[in-house]
Symmetry: C2
Subunit: 227 residues, 2 copies
DNA sequence: TAAATAGTGTCTCTAAGACATTATTTG
DNA sequence: CAAATAATGTCTTAGAGACACTATTTA
């Protein structure tokens, strides 16, 4: 049986979160009551491709129409599901948290954002989802070093300080301000919008992405970890 | 029906090659006579996992026991195979060409190395294998910029000049000699072997990889120059 | 000796990092 | 005014690129 699973990340209250659904209880249900990555099976009528299936499930769970989505990989074997040999195609999504509340749908008894600590989530996960989540985190943290991925965690308009802040959250380390700004400018990934964010201080210029679907690759990583 | 396909690269006569098999002719065979990536279906008895299946097929086709192997991604949809909705898990392998001759096995009428030009191969390919090969090439060429992947295309012992040469073949551009050498040295990925390669010139020191399974990631790409 | 390739040294340039400084708002 | 954050400038440093130079072998 071939399925599609999703690792959906967002940032809420300055912490990275992942969306999980609770497995239903029941006599023939595998991993009853455990938290799992949202997913399901391909509908050969509705889904023209694997990615179409992933987009459909993502819309069902979050209501987000066009988030950043990329394939993470696939996991398959005889040990991951008590019912026998199985394989799943896993996709990886980044969405802004503003105005998004997870929806319970179908057999997913409950869907909730879970804060991501060091290498995963506090709760015990179903199937091999610990390994999948861990791979997703590794992918995210690697790509943050040399791409514009964190921008997809922000709402449509954002300031440069806000952008730097999500980078710092995902990387879990501070970045240099002027280096960050020249890098972002040089990469030509954002455009000014004629508006500013004001507060009890100097107002900040607002920007939006030139392309909300494709990330930009920087020529270097942030900090050559030569150590 | 879920399958596993392989994109197996090697370098022969200073040119990148990919291994292809010819589809069998027959009344109910899809894409008869066209060249295709080697692959097949999972054997739930023999294959404990997707990767195990890929390694088994690779050994069958090439006889290579422990090559560099990584997952490339999966392709699935209703348009890729005339028989209907299908999905395949694709793996990506790099092997040295020395002493390796492709083996025809099972229904693969013929297996041959095909030179890779710009974006693929001269022959028409079966199914969606043009897209898969193109993705594999993109992955390879990207990773060559910041990893030690090309080293897996060389035999166990090699000189620094030979290593630089495979990089140049895959990248299709010359590299700076001294920069290349300091980078490789600093990355701590090779060790000297007490032997030299001699010819009609100064003999060259031979090296081997410290780890023939995992690539090393360099802190920067080769040429950040914004084209 | 010349030819050939191995291997190193020097200089420049780009972009990151550290950190100080200036700018512009509100209370 | 002070407080707060935005935005920029200056100096240093790491590593890539260009390219010249030295080293060591065979014929």
């Amino acid at each position: 049986m071939t399925g599609v699973d999703l690792v959906i990340f967002t940032v809420r209250d300055d912490v990275l979160h992942v969306l999980l659904t609770q497995r239903p209880d029941g006599p023939n249900e595998p991993c009853p009551g455990l938290w799992a990555l949202p997913g399901g099976f391909i509908d050969v009528e509705k889904d023209a491709s694997l990615e179409a299936c992933a987009r459909r499930k993502l819309a069902e769970k979050t209501g987000v129409a066009s988030p950043y989505l990329e394939q993470l990989g696939s996991w398959g074997g005889n040990a991951r599901d008590p019912r026998g040999w199985s394989a799943t195609h896993v996709y990886f999504a980044l969405i802004p948290s503003e105005g998004i509340e997870p929806r319970a749908g179908g057999r997913a008894a409950d869907a909730r954002w879970h804060p991501v600590r060091d290498h995963g989530v506090r709760e015990k996960l179903a199937f091999d989802h610990v390994a999948i989540l861990s791979a997703a985190l590794e992918r995210l943290r690697n790509k943050v070093e040399y791409t514009s991925l964190p921008a997809f965690l922000l709402p449509e308009e954002f300031t440069l300080s806000e952008l730097q802040h999500v980078y710092e959250i995902v990387l879990d380390r501070p970045l240099n301000k002027s280096a960050f700004r020249t890098r972002v400018r040089d990469a030509d990934l954002i455009v000014e919008v004629p508006r500013q964010r004001s507060g009890a201080n100097r107002p900040a210029q607002l920007y939006r992405l030139k392309d909300r679907r494709h990330p930009v690759f920087f020529p270097r990583t942030f900090s050559p970890r030569g150590e």
